[in-house]
């Protein structure tokens, strides 16, 4: 164990010297040296609580919120904020923070896991203390196959878990509720009914049939996409009983109410933190840049909302309407972290933008596909091949004291963040 940690740390040091940003490289090398490194570290640190955070949308925000709650209760947290969420990422994180004897001074380890690698991670760490299941939407079908395939894999991974692993599941997502039901130890969360409407399902909906018997699900109320109070028209399957909290945060959007609720429930069940204490500390929570943080430049506000799938972008459009955006910048890339397939933009309800007075700007590797999409919806916009030109035009045309809302895919978010924070716009 000593050797693999030392090697990993050496690589880490080397990658810093070489200024390589590849945050999974040290872990990759350390795992090559000792395949059971991760398991050994957990054995060496029995007091360390591990919480996995899984779901299509909201993993980073949930991790941030839970970190805030735990740190406010003096629980030291280690989290994979870099978005490097495969086994190598976990190994890298551990290698960086453990000493050569393999001990770690943190009490909680929060780990975002992407859809496909959850079963792999569970093979390596058979008993995490908890898994938070947020939601399952259509995202990166090109990489992960299909939503049903993903939920099948999750289901068989959950069936193997012992009662030591607590499942914190979203009661309003039929797929999540279903797979969670196979756990021996589970708790559910929901949100207040006042945030749910009796409206029709949005177009991008993935899960309208019963995961148990395949018949149509009916919804009494819907919060967004396929999340709501559901019941099967044929079998007894319906939204399970769930915890519900009332709180206030700076996070906008219905989807964040679920993220926050999952964090409050996890803090309660895993660390015994009273929900009222959590709710109190949430008042001081400041969102991360690119995850709803608002920055101010020349008396203009900029908000970045990562929008990488139909449901995410539909919700972001709602936020643009709520915050009365003066300008909107849509950035569409199709690099590997974004998903190579951009067909999902046709599942987004762009016609809602007709209710907005915002000027719309478009850029990214697939800017013209996005522009073509808006053209067919009859929505006026301007296209720029370079992010920089699009951003300049957008910020210039943002009215004083008003908001520019940027809706990027993942790699575009990194680019635009660099653009805004790197340049002398202070």
């Amino acid at each position: 164990m000593y050797h693999s940690i030392a090697i990993g740390k050496g690589v880490l040091h080397l990658s810093k010297i070489l200024n390589r940003s590849g945050s999974t490289w040290p872990g990759h090398v350390a795992l090559k040296a000792d395949r059971s490194l991760i398991r050994k570290v957990f054995k060496k640190n029995p007091g360390l609580k591990l919480i996995l955070i899984a779901g299509t949308n909201g993993k980073t925000t949930t991790t941030k919120v839970l970190t805030h709650i735990l740190e406010s209760s003096n629980i030291s947290v280690l989290a994979n904020v870099a978005g490097a969420n495969l086994l190598n990422g976990l190994a890298s994180l551990l290698v960086k923070h453990i000493n050569l004897q393999g001990t770690l001074k943190h009490k909680a380890l929060l780990f975002e896991v992407d859809e496909n690698s959850l079963p792999l991670v569970l093979e390596e760490i058979s008993t995490p203390d908890a898994i938070i299941f947020l939601n399952l939407f259509r995202d990166q079908l090109d990489r992960y196959g299909e939503v049903n395939v993903t939920s099948q894999k999750w289901k068989s991974a959950i069936e193997k878990l012992s009662a030591k692993t607590l499942i914190i599941g979203n009661a309003d997502d039929p797929q999540i509720a279903y797979i969670s039901s196979f756990s021996k130890n589970k708790f559910f969360y929901t949100i207040d009914n006042k945030f749910k409407n009796e409206k029709e399902l949005a177009h991008a909906v993935d899960s309208t049939t019963c995961p148990k018997c395949n018949n149509q699900l009916s919804y009494e109320r819907i919060s967004y996409s396929h999340l709501g109070n559901f019941a099967c028209s044929n079998c007894e399957f319906k939204s399970p009983k769930a915890k519900q909290y009332i709180f206030q945060t700076k996070l906008m959007g219905t989807y964040n109410k679920y993220n926050v609720s999952s964090a409050i429930l996890a803090a309660d069940k895993v660390f015994g933190i009273n929900p009222y204490t959590s709710i109190e500390t949430l008042k001081n929570f400041v969102p991360a840049f690119g995850r709803q943080e608002v920055i101010e430049i020349d008396n203009k506000k900029i908000m970045i909302l990562l929008s990488k799938n139909p449901t995410g972008l539909n919700e972001s459009i709602e936020v643009c309407l709520t915050n009365k955006s003066s300008t909107i910048l849509l950035l569409l890339n199709d690099r590997i972290p974004d998903g190579r397939d951009i067909s999902w933009i046709w599942d987004v309800d762009f016609e809602k933008l007709k209710n907005s007075n915002a000027k719309i700007y478009v850029s990214g590797d697939r800017a013209y596909d996005m522009a073509n999409r808006l053209f067919f919806e009859g929505i006026a916009h301007e296209v720029f091949e370079k992010y920089e030109d699009a951003y300049k035009a957008a910020i210039k045309n943002t009215l004083s004291a008003k908001t520019l809302t940027i809706l990027p895919t993942y790699s575009a978010m990194l680019e635009v963040r660099r653009l805004i924070s790197g340049k002398a716009i202070l």
Binding site: L141, E146, N148, T208, T209, S343, Y368, D369, F376, V383
Partner: protein, 266 residues
């Protein structure tokens, strides 16, 4: 908006969208949006009939164009049952009677003779297209950007497609499709996999129907193909050529942007 409806005498076309809820995985409704806009911009009233498993099969016979998209396996089972038990025969008649149609991915596969899944089970198809599809446990899904060249038979049918050097799209399928007659291919693969990743054929062009693995979706990325479907439908319904045209710089630029990107990527 139908600004030009007075210039052409109230012509109309009806599209039958088969299983819009169940067979709609990869932005499929984009194809409908594009057909509707092009028709309306050319002064043709365009109605969309949503046909699902509870709809009466006779609805199909009133349609001038048909469209069916792809789906996840689970949804596909429900659709297969309805096609075999209820709507399959009318759909066959429509296709054999030259009704133009676009069938993507799962829909395309199901119109063939059979589908052999990864466990070796053979699921019979409607047998309208002379082809079959096989899925293998050991072989990966065929996923990625795809560039194809329209086949000669397609160009013969619709001369203006000569200008269309390429169709672009995205494919994502586990099944490998084999045509009984490779001359029936919809297109030739330039980059990507197409029907099976081996014989360079992509899709099928049978009578006025097109079966294909291209989504993206296909019509917004290649509006000239939407024009082809509309013109064919118009000719069949009214017995005379229409002057349907469509010129959109954005779609062309999107295509160029993708082709440029592919050259650097591959």
């Amino acid at each position: 908006m139908n600004h030009q409806s007075s210039t052409i005498n109230h012509n109309s076309l009806t599209l039958g969208w088969l299983y819009p809820e169940l067979m709609s995985t990869y932005g499929d409704r984009g194809n409908i949006t594009v057909l509707k806009k092009i028709a309306e911009d050319n002064g043709i009233k365009f109605d969309v009939l949503r046909i699902n498993q509870t709809s009466n099969s006779s609805l199909l016979s009133t349609c001038d164009i048909l469209f069916m998209g792809g789906a996840q396996d689970l949804q596909q089972e429900i659709v297969n049952r309805d096609l075999i038990e209820n709507k399959g025969e009318i759909l066959r008649e429509k296709i054999e009677q030259d009704t133009p149609g676009l069938y993507i991915c799962g829909a395309y596969q199901f119109l063939g003779n059979y589908y052999k899944d990864a466990y070796g089970t053979t699921i019979p198809g409607l047998g309208i297209f002379e082809m079959h599809t096989e899925s293998y446990k050991t072989k990966p899904r065929l996923i990625g950007n795809i560039v194809v060249k329209p086949s000669n038979s397609l160009i013969m049918n619709h001369k203006s497609l000569i200008d269309s050097f390429f169709f672009v799209g995205f494919e994502n399928h586990g099944g490998r499709t084999y045509l009984a007659d490779k001359n029936q291919a919809f297109a030739k693969v330039i980059q990507g996999y197409g029907n099976n990743g081996k014989d360079k054929t992509e899709g099928i062009h049978y009578k006025n129907s097109i079966g294909t693995y291209l989504h993206g979706p296909i019509l917004p990325s290649n509006p000239e193909l939407a024009v082809y479907l509309l013109k064919t439908a118009y000719l069949k319904k009214y017995g005379k050529e229409s002057k349907i045209t469509f010129d959109n710089e954005l779609a062309k630029k999107a295509k160029q942007q993708m082709l440029r990107k592919l050259k650097t990527d591959y």
